[in-house]
Symmetry: C3
Subunit: 316 residues, 3 copies
């Protein structure tokens, strides 16, 4: 499926959906971070930004944190939030996704939050819905997870106060990670020149040369002097396909306190969660003083509030 990465913008270049980082300017990213920071300052206090709006969540893949933060963000913005129970819905009885979406649209839903295992599904939906409906990508296949990348940018800015001049490492299965792809685009747009991707060669995307990143097969070399280390979640089934054992992976790419010493002294360690302790990251690191993993979760609510607020404002 060809994915139209421009569909999220209206003719004035304003965001009316939120589907991918590609196409966003540096200023647009910074604007979202600034809106989120305002929410953080008021402890995400309830406001009326989405009053009389209805948000429907459609998670075709299971999720706890992303789904729950969208629900919490919606409630804090005073939206009505509807969780469509996919397992018990008509979709599985033969109704197509599009018929389901059109039906929800006819129920006056204003926004769909969509996660799907097939890359491009949120874009496909955005193309089909009416003029007033917005779609947010909560993770599509191996393509993108743009709200995760945005909350990661928020977390980096919070601790480093800048993007230019930073040295960032992303460790793991870059090939299958939707998070990694959205991260690389975000960092590049924010003028981060020193992006290092680390992992087994077999788990690197084919187009690695075209990305503005440095590849390292060795973890300690790759994170050397880095200001930010972002660990990806290991998916056991992918390792199996790649003929890599969990033990081997941990030996080579598991982040331990010892290996972390090659990074900058004030390095922050990030992870989109849920973490596999003792596989891609040691508990000593995950719970250690350099870890900002739980802070990422907190930022997730404010960032999602900010994105929803901006889109609804752009629609008005």
């Amino acid at each position: 499926m060809e994915i139209d990465k421009r569909i999220q913008f209206n003719s004035d270049g304003k965001l009316i959906h939120f589907l991918n980082i590609e196409g966003l300017s540096k200023d647009q990213i910074i604007e979202i971070l600034d809106i989120a920071e305002n929410f953080i300052e008021t402890s995400n206090k309830k406001n009326k930004n989405l009053e009389n709006k209805t948000v429907a969540s459609l998670f075709f893949e299971p999720s706890t944190r992303t789904k729950t933060t969208f629900e919490l963000a919606s409630k804090k913005l005073s939206a009505d939030f509807i969780n469509i129970d996919i397992a018990n819905s008509s979709t599985l009885k033969g109704e197509s996704i599009i018929d389901m979406i059109k039906t929800l649209e006819a129920m006056s839903c204003d926004m769909f939050v969509v996660r799907h295992s097939i890359s491009g599904t949120p874009h496909f939906i955005a193309k089909e819905v009416g003029e007033k409906i917005s779609v947010i990508n909560a993770g599509d296949g191996i393509h993108a997870h743009p709200t995760q990348a945005m909350l990661d940018m928020f977390t980096i800015r919070k601790y480093k106060n800048k993007f230019e001049g930073l040295s960032v490492a992303i460790v793991g299965d870059i090939l299958h990670s939707r998070v990694a792809k959205s991260l690389i685009t975000s960092l590049t747009t924010l003028n981060v020149k020193n992006i290092n991707v680390i992992g087994p060669k077999i788990l690197m995307p084919e187009n690695l040369d075209t990305l503005k990143v440095n590849y390292h097969e060795n973890l300690e070399t790759g994170i050397s002097k880095c200001d930010v280390v972002i660990m990806l979640r290991l998916q056991k089934e992918r390792m199996h396909e790649a003929l890599i054992s969990t033990d081997d992976y941990y030996q080579n790419y598991g982040l331990t306190k010892k290996k972390l010493q090659s990074a900058a002294k004030d390095v922050i360690v990030m992870h989109p969660g849920p973490i596999n302790r003792g596989i891609e990251i040691d508990s000593e690191v995950a719970d250690g003083k350099n870890s900002v993993i739980l802070d990422q979760v907190t930022s997730g609510i404010s960032i999602r509030m900010a994105i929803m607020t901006l889109i609804i404002k752009n629609r008005a």
Copy 2:
């Protein structure tokens, strides 16, 4: 089970439950349509009609659109809405429906929205609950689906501005369709004289002669010059029982653009959804200019808001 169709009225003849169309006067139907129209005019804006009331939804059969529209309607009326997760509830562990209902009643629920595969279950519940509790039938067995019929009447009035003089066709498995039965009663009450039911003989109810309808075995004959064509959802398991193949059904009763030409030029095509494209209806018709299928969904919210508002008012 004997179904008491008068139980929805109090001694003044006012609606205190909403269980079946039978017994409603023409004026009572029109009153509900008028209340719903007021909601539509304000885009179903939030109001306080059910403030401090609790609505519990009990769907013993799966549903997306009916359940979701009741949830949205409840929230727009400022009710607290509780979705009882039947699959994980105590009912399946041996508690009877009545004990479950009495328990929810003791939790100060004010209204139950009930769907059940056994005809008459909502009436049975209405008989058992206390004086202050209202029950709404969201579909019971092959008996009735009165809120669906009401939203269909709303849709017909919107497009045709009248009921008298209309020619209406209902196509499909009338025998097993709760929608069809509520539709026929509604149309008859609203003085629609020309009601045509169409489908294989084996899928017609035994009491067809006592209904004020014309039966046609042939689709094009049946919908000839009709102003309104209502397609019913084909249930594959019923066809199997009746020894009718899906292909044969489509050949004879699938609504195509060509067959629709025998209807009135400005015919509206309706369907309660979810539709089986290419089985009972062609995509060309479902998505065509005569289709008002998605408009039915939109009306569903306003109609349910109207029914809930009226019942609570009658209780006050």
Copy 3:
């Protein structure tokens, strides 16, 4: 697992969690009953006691009434209520409970309502969460169900206007019942001297001698002249383990109208629900004039509102 029963108190002895009855003073219990009574007097009308607070429910065991009353109580207190769908959550994919809790805490949840099959899980969580988070035990293993005991105390006070001098019977599988243990502690704290436990010897806890209760193997002897009879729910799998047939159990411990005659004339009959009609209790008794079973359910909402209100006040 060692269960720290003091963890629910702060250094001033005030409740900041609600995990067990042990450690509560008589005055603290009475204070909660009084707060609940105030809510009852205003028909549990909505208030703003938990405005801008988020309550997350984590039920690792299925439940209808406890879970639903917590949801209703939260909404009446104006909290945002999030139901974590354990079956579809990351926990089952290898995330530990603690990582899940820390994640929810990072989402600014203020209160966790936890049910778990392992005794002590809510205490374990309370030990791990941050300073501002409260945990409520909604039933843990065979250990405690303190909100159930509190609503039972509320119901007893409502009907008997006192605790001292009362004669109370608890009938059934005391060994495995978390309700029974919380009841005995509550009644003892409230100076009820005459507590009778009744059931097969094999279903009595080993430490029976250390509890301030009288044991009776015979039902009619045990409930003789009692003011309050509390029946426990029979769990069929436990009877199977104890080699007791359901029929035998009913013969000996099923509460019939005839057997109830040995109790005081104005005895109240209680049951935490859901009831097994014709096994531990006859319908004639369950629905009879001495039964206050549904009143217990109603009290459940007010008591949970009271406990949540008190804890949040103590946190402020």
